[in-house]
């Protein structure tokens, strides 16, 4: 295999790692029935704070921890406002998305353009030297390895364990879960905070590795959080599919960079947003099966065509947890 391509694939896996963390964090939160729109602001704030702490202390581990703690705190505000105070989850999340972004730019001002520590590369002895596969999978930093582990763990947890089943339950049928002895609101708190911590790790993963440093408004991180939210839907609230979406997104960004020299008339900013319309298109594909007019149109078609189209739509279609965004009351 071509070395440039191999290195390209390895780069895609590494640059998708923070998006994998954010999308899976949000998937867990939404599985529990809570919408957390603050992701974009949380990633910017934790990127800045993680970088600031790492620069000040010289420790990347402390930088990552700072990100996780701040991410958890932001999510805690969403949980408190929506679960305890019964305010609109979308409103609180959106305000936090803007507030955290501006906080990041305001407090990050003194750290702009400083050079800081980076996550060290940890080639895995033995495995790293395997041709092709070694370069693709086994020459990354710690967090990229953890992103692989997270995908598998989150999938197994949600779909193959008892607590995971309960997690699905509080998002789908909270009343039934309550009858079975689950403390719905407490569990929602816990999963929101855990998911928030995962989202909070995405920030320092950028500022300490993928896009090292803090450059304020030109850090190029504004928008990533919204992509992570779209990936959660695209992934049908399944960590495996969400991760696939993250890799696809990273691939598109990489493609934009590669194609840049051959398309000199198109400013780089234009190619960088190419993934967004594609994201809308994929959202359209996974959602269109839920629309009423599709059912009506399908009903008028000859039987065989109808079955074929319905099967394709069903394969792509995703539906959210039934109680997503709905507060739970015991009565």
């Amino acid at each position: 295999m071509d070395t440039a391509l191999v290195i390209g694939i390895a780069g895609i896996l590494a640059s998708a790692a923070p998006i994998v963390f954010a999308a899976i964090g949000e998937t867990i939160i939404e599985r529990a029935g809570v919408i957390n729109l603050s992701v974009n602001g949380a990633i910017l704030l934790t990127a800045m704070a993680g970088f600031a702490v790492a620069v000040t202390t010289g420790s990347v581990v402390l930088g990552l921890l700072t990100g996780a703690v701040i991410g958890a705190l932001v999510a805690l505000v969403v949980a408190f406002a929506s679960i305890t105070l019964k305010q609109s989850q979308v409103a609180v999340g959106f305000v936090l998305a803007l507030l955290c972004r501006d906080l990041a730019y305001f407090l990050g001002n003194p750290y702009m353009g400083l050079s800081g520590p980076r996550l060290p590369h940890l080639p895995i002895p033995g495995l790293a030297n395997i041709p092709v596969l070694g370069t693709i999978f086994f020459q990354h930093d710690l967090m990229t390895y953890l992103s692989f582990v997270l995908i598998v763990l989150a999938y197994i947890y949600i779909f193959r364990t008892r607590p995971g089943l309960m997690l699905q339950g509080i998002g789908e049928r909270p009343a039934a879960a309550y009858v079975r002895g689950a403390n719905v609101n407490l569990l929602r708190y816990v999963y929101t905070v855990v998911g928030g911590a995962l989202i909070g790790l995405a920030g320092p993963m950028y500022s300490l590795s993928v896009k090292a440093g803090w450059k304020g408004t030109i850090s190029g991180l504004d928008g990533i959080g919204w992509i992570a939210l779209a990936l959660t839907i695209f992934g049908g609230w399944n960590p495996l599919r969400a991760a696939l979406g993250a890799y696809f997104f990273a691939f598109l960004q990489w493609l934009g960079l590669v194609l840049q020299p051959s398309l000199p008339n198109i400013p780089s900013q234009v190619l960088q947003v190419a993934p967004f319309p594609l994201m809308i298109l994929t959202l359209l594909l996974v959602n269109v099966g839920n629309a009423e007019w599709v059912d009506r149109t399908l009903a008028g078609l000859p039987e065989q065509t109808r079955h074929a189209i319905a099967r394709i739509l069903r394969a792509m279609r995703t539906s959210p947890p039934a109680a997503l965004g709905v507060p739970f009351e015991k009565e």
Binding site: V77, T84, Q87, L103, F106, F276, N287
Partner: protein, 347 residues
């Protein structure tokens, strides 16, 4: 009697929210090793310290008020039109387009400006209709459709500025070639604010106020927003009402973009929307989606924005401080409202 006392508790909780937001913002400033009182003083001086400064506040107020007015319609219909940023941008692009086509024609400048406004409105409606289409026929949540279209709008602006509409010579982030002065909205002498933009802004919010508070359309739109299914069963054509809400909001956002081009920048720049779309969403949340207080609250937010412009020069602080204060204010009001309702339920 109960009514009166609950109004007072309402007010008390809102005041508490303001105090909390100010305390939070002050804490943030202390973290940044800055003197909060000094910063607040600078913001006040920078916004209402002189006639010039206040006219700049009005320059920011008009597009913010237009965006807020449009958003009140979509909020009433229960829709989160996050795509408003892109709709403002498209309004600005369409206005620029119309002016570029017509600037060398024999039409009178006044007529060209009017066509510029109409084109802007059309551009905003066009962008909103994409989101509406995705929402109504594609099942794509308007938040994600809107966000995606925002990014596309930004990319389109940058492509135009560096590509087909670039300045003679080389394109740059400073935007397209400015239009000749005859095509600028005339301003008060020595100030940057145009009486015509003020008229557009004030008429805009007045129309929305009457539409939402005084017509059957507004009443039915509220029904759609409260409970779409029930509204449908009561015979309200919900699809048409959602379309109307999106298009109206797009129209107002497009006008905001037109004002930015015709009255403020006189050209297309990369960040032409100035974030007024998202800020308008904050204003709408703060006034609980009711048009009555839209104008004064938008004025206050515009004053914060303009007042903080000089912070980087005077105090070496980032001007996003205004965003921190605005965000903290809305968050505190939402939280305090929740606390108040919780306490009332307990009783």
């Amino acid at each position: 009697m109960v009514k009166a006392s609950s109004r007072w508790t309402n007010l008390a909780f809102q005041l508490l929210a303001i105090v909390l937001a100010l305390a939070f913002t002050s804490l943030v400033m202390i973290l940044a090793k800055a003197d909060p009182l000094e910063a607040y003083r600078n913001i006040v001086v920078g916004s209402v310290g002189s006639v010039n400064k206040f006219s700049d506040v009005l320059v920011a107020w008009v597009p913010l008020l237009l965006a807020t007015s449009g958003l009140l319609v979509t909020y009433t219909a229960g829709l989160w039109n996050i795509g408003v940023e892109g709709q403002i941008t498209l309004g600005a692009i369409f206005t620029t387009w119309a002016l570029r086509v017509l600037q060398d024609s024999t039409l009178s400048p006044g007529l060209i400006i009017v066509i510029g406004f109409l084109s802007g409105a059309l551009g905003g409606m066009l962008w909103a209709s994409v989101v509406a289409f995705l929402k109504i026929y594609g099942g794509v949540n308007e938040i994600f459709g809107g966000l995606g279209m925002n990014f596309v709008a930004t990319a389109l602006t940058i492509w135009l500025i560096f590509g087909p509409w670039k300045r003679p010579g080389i394109g740059s982030m400073s935007g397209t070639e400015p239009f000749k002065e005859a095509l600028w909205l005339p301003t008060f002498t020595g100030l940057r604010i145009s009486p015509w933009s003020l008229v557009v802004g004030i008429v805009g919010i007045a129309v929305i106020y009457l539409l939402l508070q005084g017509t059957y359309f507004g009443l039915k739109l509220k029904a759609v927003g409260r409970n779409r299914r029930a509204a449908f069963l009561l015979g309200i054509p919900t699809t048409q009402y959602m379309w109307a809400a999106f298009l109206l909001c797009g129209l107002f956002a497009g006008l905001a973009g037109a004002v930015q081009v015709l009255g403020v920048y006189h050209r297309l720049i990369p960040s032409i929307s100035s974030g007024y779309g998202f800020l308008g969403m904050l204003v709408a949340m703060l006034i609980n989606y009711q048009p009555t207080w839209a104008a004064p609250v938008a004025l206050f937010f515009a004053a914060l924005n303009i007042g903080s412009i000089q912070l980087p020069i005077v105090m070496k602080l980032d001007s996003t401080l205004s965003g921190v204060l605005q965000g903290a204010l809305v968050l505190a009001v939402l939280l305090m409202d929740g606390v108040r309702q919780r306490i009332l339920r307990r009783r």
